[in-house]
Symmetry: D2
Subunit: 395 residues, 4 copies
């Protein structure tokens, strides 16, 4: 089967799976298991090495759980780079899913070692760091891919391609929101990472905005194809008292002149992972809700509402059908999106390593520039807020 052929998303093109390592992801953390699940499901990767925790006992125990041999479970990532780079069967890519403030130096280390990098968002905690990673990626030619899983949902891909094809005409306003509830009450929300997410030293100048605002911004940009030209942000603490914002209201002027609103919060009871996008064009609208990811609500003026359900045919775009694994109604959700992400990255990295070129549309992913754009968005939100909520150009 050719690289990325429809129906072949889970076929590793080199006839073997690629060797993957992890930095971070150990027991007690949140997102490591999500990455690992995506990698396994994709059939493109074997997880063979890791520095899974800065705590050596946890690192070792976590490695056992993931069936990583003790010889390839490392106490720290510099050791891992040295050891893996020296092996004939060393890892071909690394997933970095450590706390934000460590992204920069770890990514830098692996890029310099020529190991492809799969980096959890946000890319870094400052625009300077992000720009430096973009430069380093360009210099080394190594893959630096960001993990924004929501844009690997088939129905997000569907929305993106419908809009690109002009289905709803020129975009006239956009509303995106990402609401959670875990920062409402003063009690510890019960996952490692809740604490550092509120520590400016560890996350930079914004908390929730970096954590979930980047997703909302990325989704808006990916689906509409528009960038944010200017923004104005107000940060708030709407949950229990804390040192950094848990909520932000951001007004947007998009690159085509249309206005937009982005609301993010971690203090809205009854919302868990409520990432919702509504795009209004001159001819119709498209809405998607991460908590009901199988459906796209499409309204063309003066027509009945259409619900496109993930599957093959019945309104699906070929670019979205590529990501479909189960028949319509046999639910796919976030784990499947992670699987798609790791499959698309499998194609991209296998192509680079084998000197092949992927054809247009065979794999979509977020590259270093996309990662830096997210960091810049967060930084400008902080700038605007600190200046009293003034309009600022994004770039």
């Amino acid at each position: 089967m050719a690289f990325g052929e429809k129906g072949g998303l889970r076929v590793p093109p080199l006839g073997r799976r690629l060797r993957l390592g992890f930095v971070g992801g150990g027991k007690g953390g949140l997102v490591g298991e999500w990455h690992a699940a995506g990698a396994r499901l994709s059939n493109h990767w074997d997880i063979v090495a890791g520095a899974l925790s800065s705590n050596p006992d946890n690192a070792a125990a976590s490695a056992r759980d993931w069936v990583i041999g003790p010889d390839r479970s490392y106490d720290d990532w510099p050791t891992m780079i040295t050891a893996e780079a020296a092996r004939a069967d060393g890892i071909e890519a690394v997933v970095i899913c450590t706390p934000n403030w460590t992204h920069f130096e770890i990514a830098e280390g692996f890029l310099r070692a020529g190991i492809d990098v799969i980096l959890d968002k946000p890319m870094a905690i400052s625009t300077e760091q992000a720009d430096a990673l973009v430069s380093l990626q360009q210099e080394t030619g190594v893959v630096l891919a960001m993990t924004y899983p929501y844009t690997h949902h088939p129905m997000v891909r569907q929305a993106r391609h419908m809009i690109a094809d002009g289905a709803i005409g020129k975009i006239r306003q956009v509303h995106v929101e990402y609401a959670q509830d875990w920062a409402t009450a003063p009690e510890d929300p019960g996952f490692k990472g809740a604490a550092w997410r509120r520590d400016p030293v560890k996350v930079g100048r914004a908390s929730a905005t970096g954590d979930i605002g980047t997703h909302a911004y990325h989704l808006l940009h990916t689906v509409t194809g528009l960038d944010v030209a200017e923004l104005r942000a107000d940060f708030h603490v709407c949950g229990a008292p804390k040192a950094m914002e848990d909520t932000a209201f951001v007004s947007l002027k998009l690159s085509n002149g249309a206005p937009g609103l982005l609301w993010l919060t971690q203090a809205a009871a009854g919302n868990y992972c409520a990432l919702r996008l509504r795009v209004f064009g001159e001819a119709g609208s498209i809405e998607w809700d991460q908590e009901r990811p199988e459906y796209l609500r499409v309204n063309m003026l003066d027509e009945p509402e259409r619900i496109i359900v993930r599957g093959n045919g019945a309104g699906m775009h070929p670019a979205a059908e590529r990501l479909v694994h189960l028949p319509r109604g046999h639910g796919e959700a976030l784990t499947d999106a992670w699987g798609n992400l790791y499959a698309e990255l499998g194609l991209v990295i296998a192509a680079r390593r084998s000197g092949k070129t992927l054809a247009e549309g065979q794999a979509e992913y977020t590259d270093a520039k996309g990662g830096a754009a997210g960091v810049r968005f967060v930084g400008r939100c902080a700038d605007s807020h600190e200046a009293g909520g003034v309009w600022l150009k994004l770039t």
Copy 2:
């Protein structure tokens, strides 16, 4: 049955229905039929007189349709005042549902004649007019009631009283939106009034903001019991080109310090009467959607979501049960809310006219001050927008 006793909302307390006249409401208009339906359904009113249109032929034909005798169908409202005031069986109250720019002088005329006034929103097209009507109402003692039907839905009343009773704790953020689609396409939307809604001479300094923004503001205020302390507004044209805004994004600082967002638009395909309120407190949240008015979504932290369905018992508040007419599941909707509005006003006006005093909670309605608050809100939105989107105090 005592005034406003539970289950007796549709019982006219004087043993007879009150005599009601209309100014406006003739054929081709939009809201007259809604008012008339509410008045009929309530069982508190007989519609006996009217100056239903500024076009005499339409006025006469419309009167025939509503079974108003030709002797009490008037060509203009001043004549109507004179004639009705002179009759022993003259009208006891008048509904004014004419275009916005005429509200002030018509209301003034009826108030001075001692006829209770039921006035469609917005109260007037300027803060000066609104304040003058408040003064006149206080001076005359005549009832001046605004018609905000959404706050007469049982589940809105439920939300209001749950919040007042502290069900979700201190309010920490509020989101309200009112989205429609009729101003998206350049084609005439097909109802009389679409044109004047975009004419600054006729609606004042704001268009959609006065039309539907007042509803959103009123709903927010009524349900939360909070006022807007400061606001910042941006007006946009997101549908076909037009002289005035069809969309506004309004940031709010509420009177308890909580932030809020109010979005209103008439250019969002797929939205018809999408008035939605989400109130987030420190202990939980409450959401209501006008397009699914029978349900209140309540989320207390760390509990399963609760859906309270309109009816008796099963979580209903006594103050909301007063408005219930049909058993749970036997749907009530906007017509029923109009019926409640006209029943509550029937109680209020019957009480004034018979010298009775309603007990606390027997009837809730929006008075002159509430009407003026809506006009002030619209005016300050226009002020803020015109000043480039600056924060302004509401009062």
Copy 3:
């Protein structure tokens, strides 16, 4: 405006409202208020007389609540017939909403007096009674109309006409259910009538089947245009112990050979008025749910799902648009359906009384034969159940 012209459903064609009386409907009952609300809302009727209760005090008090003069509040229906028939301004039609076992004799009395009859379902408690009323109606020429309000919902009308026009092709299977919860617990459900609904002397050989099964059967028949050829019924008690069935499972063979299932219950917690119809054709399907009456779910094979929302245009059938009063999204529900029923009956009865003929489609209602069909359906269900669940021909 001509009889039943689009947009004119609430215009009484004779230039005046018709005079309506009630037998039953007094305080403490369930459905009287629903009928009265529909009559008032329709603008076709003035409620001027009544024998509202078999209890004279209740009758008098109820008449006061409804603003019926004491001279036209009667202690019993025979007196009412005599008195009203003798008045020049006597009632032109009567609503009979008494317990089932009294329908026959009261309807007979009014029909013989030449007063048009509006009769709550089920028509009678035996097939013999029902057939006798059909004959009497034919003999007298007086209108005998049944009140099945659900088929006066615009979206039910929409479904009926789409199917008649062939939108989903030949019907291949039909599923209808009507579920409530009030008979689950042993406690009194708190409305007058709960008791007699379980008394075979008062309701005949079936309880829930007559009460709500008739609605389900009627809806199926009205929407599909198919009749039931054969049926097989099992009665059950699924709630608290009681003398008659609260649940029935009925298998159907429809007149075109398609199979169907009808489930009715009053012992299904979480269901209030859950009347749901699903019609599957060779080309697509149509679904409607009384608890969300504004929407029709339409699925054509290999197309995205379409949601038709009540309103004008956007997929609406002209025959359904006739019943539309509020713009799309401005909710209508059961009260509006009752209003439509009373408006359509207003047209029918005004036409008969003025010697006019309504054009095809100007008003749809259920006549005496339709009422008798419902009674026959209930009777055959009882026959089948009593015979151990055997297949029986309906006629």
Copy 4:
């Protein structure tokens, strides 16, 4: 981490993954990829061998796609048994996902070879075959596990344990349906297996009933803990003409005396994988819908509706929390359920092979007797239908 400890579902207890082979599952088939995805996601299995297709070219190509070495890709399953049984690193379990009529002999072969068997439903095409497999399993002590993935959804597990704990009291009626649309139109639905599903030689005496009716029966039984005592079935062809039923209506008498209805169809446009269960008890009800698998709708009499959303806490049962991988709102769906199935079977098979005993509740799965019960249910449905729809005891 101990066997099956909470949060440890994806931890292989022997410190290594088990070796898994497949019979069936090659390209062009439907369910093989679903099994493989579950096995990979679970982290309990390495897929190392297969006889993936009866077509040798397809078998070889499919093995390459799955990264199975050419030396362990076999042309037929007898060769696979011989070769794998001879290897020190031979497979420890086999997945059989071939067409129904081949299940018996393949399962028999692997059981006799001492290789644990994971068998797609239905177990076999006759009760005789099924009973023979039960006996063989008992004789050999080898694991024979059926794959009913829906019962590995956390919210199905939640429903099962809530009901077992008495949350809704005694069960009084049960409704289950499984509706699809692919057999509606005469066109080929486009998946291999559509043809043999309608061939009595290959599927036995029932088609859709064996295909999806088994799932519905299994779900009902698993969640309620009740068995079917008696049933009465009618088979229908509601889609394009075909040799076997695409639809069945089955009336049930459950083991506690409660009635039930089971409807299955593959000819209901707009339904894709619409497996829905509604269980009504004397105190409340529970509903689950496979197309919205994250939610459980719970209605206790006289309380607001509760929606339990998959996650930790907020109403979740510990036995369901075991299956939770992502935080509330971060969607899990069918792939995750397959992952749970393969994780639970990983625990079961690792325990058997290491001589350990799983504690109560550490892993739930459907054993040989459960598989035979499904086959018996299908057979009795066919018996009843062929006898004209008579009541028959299930056993």
